[in-house]
């Protein structure tokens, strides 16, 4: 009897210890995952904070050799570029994703799905080359439009696949409920299915936009960069990432510092974007 007790106690402790070890392991793994993130924040904030002042947001870059100045043109440029990219990537991505999940159970759907997967694996610089050949060469000069198109293409796979996955999560019973009310199929898809899935889709859109905002390579030979103020989509345009690229490798200490500040601003911009999405997608309804 006592022996039995001991045995079961032993068993109990063994289980407890295993459970403790497993928990510690997952905790360590989680810690390892956030260390790079913490390091990135630490460096960009500590190095970038020096130049983070009003000037950085409202002033233009100073000519080579002069210190100070800001990156107003690059901040606006980045916004314009992801704006153009979003105008292309968001509708195409959402519509493709919707098609794939609602009507894509056929050969064509399979091909499209395969191609979006391939597209998501293509290096962004290659997409830049394509935009260069398709837009820059015929227009005979670099432009915000070319950069935006490159970014738009890069967003498509992320938005398409998230949209498809999110729409697939909408229970079939809701589609049936819509149809059974005499609502046409396309309207059921739009007003019931998409409406139910839209928070998840918004996350995909946010992911696509953030990735695009951080791209440098495809901009180098499409949007190029611009040291002057320009909001014209037909002209070369500045962007934070290209500034980071140029300034970080420059020999001037002052520019190196500003590259860090540009990086910090880019991170802030993306955080602001996520915050904005959080607010927009906040549930209308209080949950009990």
């Amino acid at each position: 009897m006592e022996n039995d007790m001991k045995k079961s106690n032993l068993f109990y402790y063994r289980k407890k210890i295993t459970s403790f070890i497993m928990m510690s392991l997952t905790f360590i793994a989680a810690l390892a995952a956030i260390i790079p993130l913490v390091l990135i924040f630490y460096y960009t904030i500590s190095k970038g904070i020096t130049y983070l002042n009003i000037d950085f947001f409202v002033a233009m870059p100073k000519p080579v050799g002069e210190s100070g100045g800001g990156m107003a043109n690059a901040i606006v440029g980045t916004l314009i570029l992801i704006g153009i990219g979003g105008a292309i990537g968001i509708p195409v991505g959402i519509m493709t994703g919707t098609y794939l999940s609602e009507f894509g159970n056929n050969k064509f759907g399979y091909i499209v799905r395969f191609l979006t997967d391939v597209l998501s694996g293509i290096p962004s610089i290659v997409v830049g080359v394509v935009a260069y050949t398709m837009v820059v060469v015929p227009m005979k000069h670099f432009s915000a439009l070319a950069g935006g198109i490159a970014l738009g293409i890069l967003m498509i796979p992320t938005i398409t696949r998230t949209t498809e996955e999110m729409i697939k999560l909408v229970p079939h019973s809701l589609r049936e409920a819509g149809l059974a009310l005499g609502i046409p199929k396309w309207k059921t898809t739009l007003s019931i299915v998409l409406k139910t899935a839209w928070k998840g889709i918004a996350t995909g859109v946010l992911l696509g936009l953030s990735r695009a905002a951080g791209e440098t390579a495809p901009l180098l030979f499409t949007a190029l960069g611009n040291r002057f103020w320009s909001t014209s989509i037909g002209q070369p345009i500045a962007s934070l990432t290209v500034y980071i690229y140029d300034y970080a490798k420059s020999p001037f200490e002052d520019w190196n510092q500003q590259a860090w500040t540009a990086a910090l601003v880019l991170i802030l911009l993306i955080s602001l974007l996520s915050l904005l999405f959080r607010i927009i997608t906040r549930s209308k309804y209080k949950t009990n």
């Binding site: 049936e176 149809l179 059974a180 009310l181 609502i183």
Partner: protein, 249 residues
Amino acid sequence: MEIKISVKNLEAFYGKNKVLHNISIDIPKNKVLAIIGPSGCGKSTFIRCLNRMHEVVGGSIKGEILLDGEDLTKTDPVLLRKRVGMVFQKPNPFPSMSIFDNVAAGLKLNGVRNKKLITPIVEKCLKQSALWDEVKDQLDKSGANISGGQQQRLCIARTLAVDPEVILMDEPASALDPISTTKIEDLIFQLKKDYTIVIVTHNMQQAARVSDYTAFFYMGEIIEFDETNKIFISPSNKQTEDYVRGRFG
């Protein structure tokens, strides 16, 4: 007795697999018809033929189904479904919509924009489905944030809002507690004044309580169809008797 739907030699298929054989039945107007039978005998398939939801899952049919004398297999399914509404086994309110919009969905998404027109309909249907008193102060709350029984009555209100002539119910109370079930049964009793109702149920007492007529299905065929009293008290078929006495199924 006036006939609302007349089914003639109906066969239903999933791909090549035939699951309904030679079904013929006249569904009386403004009465409740209960469909009973063991699991897999084709009850759901049958009622889904009546509003052509069967074809949504890729099924096909042969035969005639006359709604007020007109063959519904040859009309526009979207228009048909406004006349023949459906309540499903599991409550399925639209979670992205408020309680109000859930009821208004069938109207709004079919192009009725006039709020003055919609509001009284929503109120009327919520009253009809005995839900009004419980939700009248929270009409802007999500349709998914109420209890299961309330959700099911919401789904009934939603169906009523498009003003159908026939209401199909596929085990509407099987996911609900006894009190909610009683409420739904009372509701069915009220509704039959204005609507023709076809209800699938596994619950013999329920069939006996709510229905005027009962059809017993077995292996894709109608074994017996008669007044509910007759089916439950003195069925003419041995299989029916065994089933309603709970001896198989």
